[in-house]
């Protein structure tokens, strides 16, 4: 349980390290260093060493990290040494793009089902999935034991959808709708809103 005391900001950097390390694997690389990883990521080598040391000893002084081993260890820490199934709510542009996204493979996730409340969307194919009506969402998610969902519905429907997802037993929500959700403490929410990222950059522009 000591792992649970590690600051969330450290947890938030592990997926970025993992992504860079998996890219090195694709490049046929076998060994790396905190210096090299830091240069790729624009993070200091000391920060990377400090972050990783919270979870154990993954490299030897002077010889660097065995990439395969470090990838395995971080995947285990992040619980992505398995495939998590995902329900996507909303079959509009963004929901459809996410449901068809090829980037989940080998990174621990697979979209399993997609829902919409628009009669014109229900029954249509999105990638390899038939869009189901939102009315069957709660039992479908419960029956499949799905713990992760993505919300890609208009902002004014997002809280209602989130409430149903919580009812269905979902414990992690990735929210593409541009508003903050209210959920119980044991449910995790992450947000993707391009405008939030853009406004963070325009502050620095002339």
């Amino acid at each position: 349980m000591t792992e649970k005391m590690i600051p969330d900001i450290v947890i938030g950097r592990l997926p970025v390290y993992l992504r860079a390390l998996q890219r090195m694997v694709q490049e046929g690389r076998q060994v790396t260093s905190s210096q090299e990883l830091g240069e790729r990521l624009g993070i200091s080598a000391a920060q990377i060493r400090k972050d990783l040391s919270q979870f154990g000893e993954f490299g030897k002084q002077g010889t660097g990290y065995q990439i395969d081993y470090l990838v395995d260890q971080i995947r285990e820490i992040l619980n992505v040494n398995q495939v998590w199934e995902i329900a996507v709510i909303g079959a509009g542009d963004i929901g459809s793009a996410v449901a068809r996204y090829g980037g989940f493979a080998n990174r621990g996730f697979a979209v399993r089902m997609i829902f919409d409340n628009n009669p014109e969307a229900i029954g249509k194919l999105v990638g390899s999935f038939t869009v189901q009506e939102t009315a069957v969402m709660v039992p479908a998610i419960q029956q499949a034991g799905i713990q992760i969902a993505m919300i890609a519905v208009p902002a004014n429907q997002a809280q209602e959808v989130a409430d149903k997802l919580v009812e269905a037993g979902v414990k992690a929500i990735l929210n593409y709708a541009p508003l903050s959700l209210n959920v119980p403490e044991d449910v995790h929410v992450q947000y993707i809103d391009p405008v939030i990222h853009l406004q963070r950059m325009t502050y620095y522009l002339e």
Copy 2:
């Protein structure tokens, strides 16, 4: 220039405050408090007061914040009291969804052009934009004076696209490709990778 000394993490919260305040405006609200805002966002009232106090005095003790006024002030701080034009690179699922996204209006941004290097995509309509070939990207962006771009191309093309965007004078990049980019210090990059967000949550799941 003192504003530039404010920690980036504070700057990163301002767009979230702005989004919640603009939502209150839509709801017809006129006055709010750091308590109410904090409850909506899951952030402490003290944090919100501290963040805002870095930029001036926006509320009176006991009477709260005039929402319209605070919205105007934060828009000015973030430089989004104007419309920034955006170039989208990549007309696949994600690039197309972003180019058609209705959520930029009133938040300081407008997509202006979209590019792709796939002969099957070039010339097609995405929303109201004709997809242009990547070969004309640099002069087109320069001529339009565009400073912000979104990269939505496969990971193995993203760095090359970023290099061209820098050459074209782009100063802020929102990168949807799942890898870290190397850019000069005066170019800002933000990342959107759903897997990074998902892995940050699976750490906490059983």
